[in-house]
């Protein structure tokens, strides 16, 4: 199977869906002109292929989301790009009070088939540009939230998200755009709401998503050499959570570590840990552990930034401790 980047996988999904459905449009800051298309190159070239359907917008995130919402209500399928997740804060009222309210509050009279694409990430960009709000998005009823880790998942999930009749928050990651993986040329879709076993194992379950899936896979290789056989459940969808798959894995391995990039307090890891103890308490041989980002505004300095974000070695350490019954 050919290997392509996560960035290219996303672009192929956009292209295929635009070819398939003339109501799919792409709006966002610098999606046309800047650097050939998109601050991170995802939409490069698409404006030329689809005249009038890929448009640069003002730097006004509340309007990018709000105008996209109205267009979705009016019969289009907009894919709105918010340059980074940090800027979604400007559009938070639109997302929470409007995008996420329409279908339920208006009793099914309005549907909102829109996708909001935005990357998590960091890279020496300091506190206001290195954040992660996965748990916030995932706590909002009526949103669908996906966070693919691989090029294969990114393509299949973005195609599904565009066809979905509900609003989808599509969380990408700056550190994943250039990663490579196998993606078939044939069309495929990945359902929203289904987790994926990225590695089968018997000793403990790592439940994770996004970039931390990749770090956890690195950790698994190190742990395997030490005789610790971990299973990796990549959630892929953060809302609605695939609880059956989480429980299936934990009931088999009897141990769980939730690995997330964002802040620990109020993180999605807390929700998952609580769910596991509510529904699989009797299967647990150890308390559910968490690996998470440190709770500070991200510093700029190289060493401080690296200390703040979880990496494979943090997962390795947590797994070793759990297998030594140190908790």
């Amino acid at each position: 199977m050919p290997e392509i980047t996560y960035r290219e996988a996303l672009k192929r999904a956009l292209r295929e869906e635009m070819q398939r459905d003339p109501t799919v449009v792409i709006w966002g800051e610098d999606v046309v002109a800047y650097a050939g298309g998109g601050a991170y190159g995802v939409t490069a070239g698409l404006a030329k292929e689809f005249p009038g359907r890929v448009r640069d917008t003002p730097i006004a995130e509340e309007a990018i989301v709000g105008v996209g919402l109205g267009a979705a209500m009016g019969g289009l399928r907009p894919v709105c790009e918010i340059m980074t997740v940090n800027f979604t804060l400007v559009a938070w009222d639109q997302i929470v009070n409007h995008v996420a309210k329409q279908s339920h509050m208006f009793n099914g009279q309005i549907k909102v088939p829109m996708v909001i694409r935005t990357p998590n990430g960091h890279g020496r960009t300091a506190a206001t540009h290195s954040q992660n709000f996965d748990a916030w998005f995932a706590s909002i009823p009526s949103l669908k939230v996906v966070a693919p880790a691989t090029p294969y998942d990114a393509k299949g999930l973005l195609k599904t998200a565009i066809r979905d009749d509900d609003p989808v928050i599509f969380l990408e990651h700056l550190q994943l755009y250039s990663t490579r993986g196998e993606v078939p040329d044939e069309e495929y879709l990945i359902p929203i709401g289904e987790a994926d076993y990225k590695r089968r194992g018997k000793d403990l379950s790592i439940i994770t998503w996004g970039r931390m899936t990749i770090e956890s896979l690195k950790a698994a290789r190190i742990l395997a050499e030490e005789g610790i056989d971990v299973e990796i459940v990549d959630l892929r969808t953060l809302r609605p959570l695939d609880v059956p798959t989480i429980l299936e894995s934990v009931r088999k391995t009897n141990r769980a570590i939730v690995v997330e990039e964002g802040w620990r307090t109020g993180g999605l890891g807390a929700e998952i840990a609580a769910t596991i103890q509510e529904q699989a308490f009797n299967y647990l041989d150890a308390p559910v552990a968490r690996v998470a980002g440190l709770e500070v505004p991200m510093p700029y300095a190289r060493n401080l930034e690296r200390a703040t974000i979880p990496f494979a070695e943090d997962v390795v350490e947590a797994a070793r401790a759990m297998m030594r019954n140190e908790y």
């Binding site: 709000g66 105008v67 429980l247 529904q279």
Partner: protein, 345 residues
């Protein structure tokens, strides 16, 4: 306009007035809860504007939305039932007073975050433009919403993409309790001038003036001339909501504006003056309106509350296969969770 149409405008305005007065009564009787923003005084705007639009033009308004829903043809029964929180309301009791809607009438809803609905109105306009439907989107707002970021973002975008949208400011001169000169740095039309947008100042207490201004703006939009901005000067005869003791506005000021009541003014200056109706005709209209509203109250009062089983309906329009099971998610589980699907503990 022919005689029938003119009488219809009068009847609609009177229906809104009587509806609002009776809604206030029902609020006092605790049949209606939460916030209740009444439209008294501003009736000419919704009625005049709706009369100028096609039935498939899009309408988006703020939370002071009863008048718009009624003018657009929602039944007094459905609107009152919504205020009562009943299954027969415009959203089956989900949205309440501030979130009336009827998409079948291209009435896309009342929105209760000040300025929050302006971008989506522009979006509806962009969709119409893209799909070539020829529809115009009318977006009403209060004067208080013209200072928030979404106002400026929406104005800029509408002008930039030449969107067929009509911004109607229902300028009742108070942002909740704060007077215009306290909340706004510049006169209203200066804000439109900032975006080089076609703008008019309109007597919002004159239903024919409103109608004509919206006709002109709609025509411009349909001819590809883009957005318009209509500053409709009006006044609300009651407080901001039923929770407002209305102490910040002087009695003299309120009395002065009441002399310009859009309903009596239309009756006196148009219907009676032109000999289109007699006082007896007007009395008969009032009686029929009062009966319609009384019927709506009875209907609402006798309607059932929404069924508890409907609580999770439309959380998604496209459900996800395994979402019923589990955790904190969609439907709480029967075991392990605290709340059973029937809402009982």
């Amino acid at each position: 306009m022919d005689r029938e149409s003119l009488i219809s405008l009068y009847r609609q305005m009177l229906l809104i007035r009587v509806f609002e007065d009776r809604a206030a009564e029902m609020y006092a009787k605790a049949k209606i809860a939460g916030f209740l923003h009444l439209y008294n005084g501003q009736e000419a705007i919704a009625v005049g504007a709706v009369s100028a639009l096609n039935p498939d033009d899009e309408i988006v308004v703020n939370y002071r939305d009863h008048g718009w829903a009624l003018a657009r043809g929602c039944s007094a029964r459905a609107v009152m039932a919504e205020l009562f929180g009943r299954a027969t309301g415009t959203t089956g009791g989900r949205g309440g007073s501030m979130h009336l809607v009827d998409v079948s009438r291209h009435f896309w809803g009342g929105y209760a975050i000040v300025g929050g609905h302006l971008p989506l109105a522009v979006g509806l306009g962009v969709a119409a433009q893209y799909l070539g439907t020829g529809r115009v989107t009318l977006c009403s707002m209060g004067d208080g919403s013209t200072n928030i970021g979404t106002f400026h973002a929406a104005m800029n975008w509408a002008k930039l993409w030449n969107v067929p949208v009509i911004f109607v400011v229902e300028n009742n001169q108070y942002a909740m309790g704060t007077a215009y000169e306290v909340h706004s740095a510049v006169p209203m039309l200066t804000k439109a001038a900032g975006y080089d947008m076609y703008a008019e100042e309109v007597d919002g207490m004159d239903v024919m003036a409103v109608r004509e201004a919206v006709c002109r703006a709609a025509e411009r939009a349909r001819n590809g001339l883009g957005p318009s901005f209509l500053n409709m000067v009006t006044y609300r005869f009651r407080g901001h909501s039923m929770a407002d003791p209305d102490v910040q506005r002087s009695k003299e000021e309120i009395a002065e504006w009441r002399k310009r009541d859009p309903i009596t003014r239309f009756a006196d200056e148009v219907l009676l003056k032109r000999g289109l109706v007699t006082q007896a005709d007007l009395d008969a209209i009032r009686k029929s309106v009062e009966e319609e509203v009384e019927d709506a109250i009875q209907f609402a009062d006798q309607s059932p509350e929404p069924p508890l089983e409907s609580l999770y309906d439309y959380i998604y329009m496209q459900p996800v296969s395994n979402m019923q099971i589990g955790g904190s998610l969609i439907r709480p589980p029967k075991l392990g969770g605290r709340v059973a699907p029937n809402g009982k503990r």
